[in-house]
Structures are given as structure tokens and as C-alpha cells.
């Protein structure tokens, strides 16, 4: 995985795992690979991966069962909350970016509605 320069690596991996969950390639209740396996897959230090696992657990996105490994939560309500938070944060970033080019939020909304009505490709 290539990492962006302006963000800690552990955050980028958390987002990747969360993205996999939202897209459905990782499912609620799934067992995650071991820290070492994941570290190897992402090409990062095991300490960094350990931190990812700790943070995911603090977010209640995963839970560790003694001796069995780390599992994605099957608490659907929690997953829905996290999905909502993710959407809010992505939309906020998007609006900030548009504003940095001088577009207003209202203009953005108009543009999105046009797309939605099929007026744009």
C-alpha cells in the first residue's frame, strides 16, 4: 500500500480497513488477520499495526477474544453510527475543498442535484 505523506500511517490503515468494511469485503463478525500478517500485507512495522488494532478496538469497531484473535464487531447499530460519521467527515472535507476553490456550499448542492437528475454525465 502507498501511503499519503500528510497523515500518520496508522490512520491510513484504519481508514483502509474501515473502507473494506463499508464496501463489504470485510464483514461484521469476521476474524481479522493477526497483527503480523496484516503488518506484512501493508508493509508496515508490527508496532504500527498494533496501534491500529488498539485504536479500532477503542472505536468499538473490533473486539479481541482471548486466545482467538480480533473480530469485527457484529453490533450493527455501532457500525451504522461509524458509517454515518465517516460520511459526515468525507462530506465535510469535500465541502472544505470546494470552498478553498471559491465555490459555495449552495453551488455544490445545486451541482449535486443536477447530477442526480441526470442533467450531467
Amino acid at each position: 500500500m502507498d501511503f499519503l505523506p500528510d497523515k500518520p500511517i496508522y490512520q491510513q490503515i484504519m481508514e483502509k480497513i474501515f473502507g473494506d468494511l463499508l464496501k463489504g469485503s470485510v464483514k461484521p463478525g469476521d476474524r481479522l488477520p493477526s497483527v503480523r500478517e496484516y503488518a506484512l500485507e501493508f508493509g508496515v512495522n508490527a508496532n504500527t499495526m498494533q496501534r491500529v488494532y488498539k485504536e479500532l478496538e477503542l472505536m468499538h469497531l473490533t473486539e479481541t477474544k482471548r486466545g482467538q484473535g480480533t473480530f469485527v464487531t457484529d453490533d450493527m447499530q455501532r457500525l451504522e453510527e461509524l458509517r454515518e460519521e465517516m460520511m459526515q467527515s468525507l462530506v465535510t472535507n469535500f465541502i472544505h475543498q470546494m470552498e478553498s476553490f471559491g465555490f459555495t456550499e449552495q453551488e455544490v448542492i445545486v451541482q449535486i442535484s443536477k447530477r442526480n437528475r441526470g442533467e450531467l454525465d
Binding site: 505523506p5 497523515k7 508493509g43 508496532n47
Partner: protein, 240 residues
């Protein structure tokens, strides 16, 4: 933990490292970076007990560094000419005879992971494969500290990546520590916990890599470039 207290090492009149005080924690992967001649190799030699400083004190887990502590350290020097007439397997057997902590099976597993033929002679291997064989022999030792001088230098990107994967796979950062010198910042950044920057025998920075990204929102290559540019500006001011 490796601790330097006011350590100075001179070669003739030249001070290779100057009055260095530094703590390197256990269970981390730590990168030593800086220009050629900045003191990286000297620092590794001092830690490994190969070379003794004229001034100051250096301890490894609280014990003064000496021939005795050298047994807890696997030091890989920055030299390409090792036992050219050995095969890879003979190199491992030689290590096995020299180091009680050497795990022959582990070395073979690392060699397999790095795609090295045990029966190939070192002389006939490409530089990249010889580099990998040396890494396999070094990681074959079950020690607390791996001190690696330029383990990626002169190797192509594929080989560098496979060696880095070898570090992730075969070094247990719960208990083991890697300290490596390198110029290949982009390659090693994802596996580094900490970075120590040397300039003219002095430590000019010692930072956790993720903190640089988190607080300054830049990668370590950009951070290093800025650090050196600022250093030059301050250096010029000091000289004028």
C-alpha cells in the same frame, strides 16, 4: 535500551561522533540517517562493541558495552566481501559455529522467504542476492539487537522491498530491536518507529516517525530536507 552518555569517538584527530548523548529504546525499529561521513557507521560500531570510544559511556540494557555484550547483538557491517568461497549454507554453518544464539533453521527459513538458494556460492551470487544471504545469516541469530549498517545500500527496489518484508516477518518487535543506517528513506519509512538524524558527528534530531506525520503533516523525506535546509541557514549565521 541502548544509552550513550557524552560519547566521543576519534579516528586520528578527526572526531567521527562528538559528545553524543542518546537513548534508543527496546522493541523498536530505529533508522539512523544522515549524509556520508556523518557518523552513522561509527555509532553502530560503538553500539556493537566492535569499536570503543575514547570518551563517554555506552550501555546496553544497563551493562557497559564490551566483548560480552557483543554476544547479545547481531552486527551487520557495511562491506560486501564476506567469505566468497562459501555457499549460503556454509555461511550459515560458519555462523552456527561462531554464535551460540544462531538458529540454523530460522536462517534457512529467512533464506527461503528471500528466495535464496542455499547451495549457491556467495561469489557467484549477484550483489542483491549476496545482500539477502547476509540478511538471512544475521536474522538467523536470536538476539535482542540487530545493528545493520546500510542493509539496503546498492540493492534494487525489489530486493529492498523483500528485505524489508523479511524484517517485518522475522523480527519480533515485542522484544527485539533493529537499528539500521540507511539512505533509502522512502523504502524504510513505513517500518520505522523512530528516526535519528546525524550531521557532522552530532545528533540533530531524534523523533517518532508517526509524530512527524501527525504534527507536521509531512513525510520524513520532506521533514529531513527542511531540517537540513534550516541547519544550513543556522550554520551560515553561526559562521558569519
Amino acid at each position: 535500551m541502548i544509552q550513550f552518555n557524552n560519547v566521543t569517538k576519534k579516528y586520528g584527530k578527526k572526531e567521527a561522533v562528538k559528545n553524543i548523548t542518546l537513548t534508543l529504546p527496546r522493541g523498536r525499529i530505529i533508522g539512523l540517517v544522515g549524509e556520508n561521513g556523518s557518523g552513522k557507521s561509527t555509532l553502530l560500531k560503538i553500539m556493537s562493541g566492535v569499536s570503543l570510544p575514547q570518551y563517554g559511556k555506552i550501555t546496553l540494557d544497563g551493562v557497559n558495552v564490551s566483548k560480552k555484550t557483543a554476544n547479545h547483538v547481531a552486527y551487520l557491517p557495511d562491506a560486501d566481501e564476506i567469505y566468497p568461497y562459501f555457499t549460503v549454507k556454509q555461511l550459515f554453518q560458519y555462523y552456527d559455529s561462531q554464535f551460540p544464539d544462531f538458529n540454523f533453521d530460522k536462517a534457512c527459513i529467512v533464506a527461503q522467504f528471500l528466495d535464496i538458494d542455499l547451495n549457491a556460492s556467495l561469489k557467484k551470487l549477484s550483489k542483491g542476492n549476496r545482500g539477502r544471504a547476509k540478511i538471512a545469516a544475521t536474522l538467523g541469530r536470536e538476539v535482542d539487537y540487530y545493528l545493520l549498517d546500510e542493509p539496503l545500500s546498492g540493492l534494487d527496489p525489489m530486493v529492498r522491498q523483500s528485505i524489508i518484508k523479511g524484517f517485518i516477518q522475522f523480527v519480533d518487535t515485542e522484544s527485539q530491536t533493529i537499528i539500521l543506517s540507511t539512505h533509502e528513506l522512502k523504502d524504510v519509512e513505513p517500518i520505522l518507529d523512530n528516526i535519528v538524524v546525524l550531521r557532522d558527528g552530532n545528533i540533530i534530531a531524534n523523533e517518532p516517525v508517526e509524530a512527524i506525520r501527525e504534527l507536521q503533516r509531512i513525510d520524513i523525506t520532506t521533514w529531513m530536507t527542511r531540517l537540513f535546509r534550516e541547519g544550513e541557514i543556522n550554520g551560515n549565521k553561526a559562521n558569519s
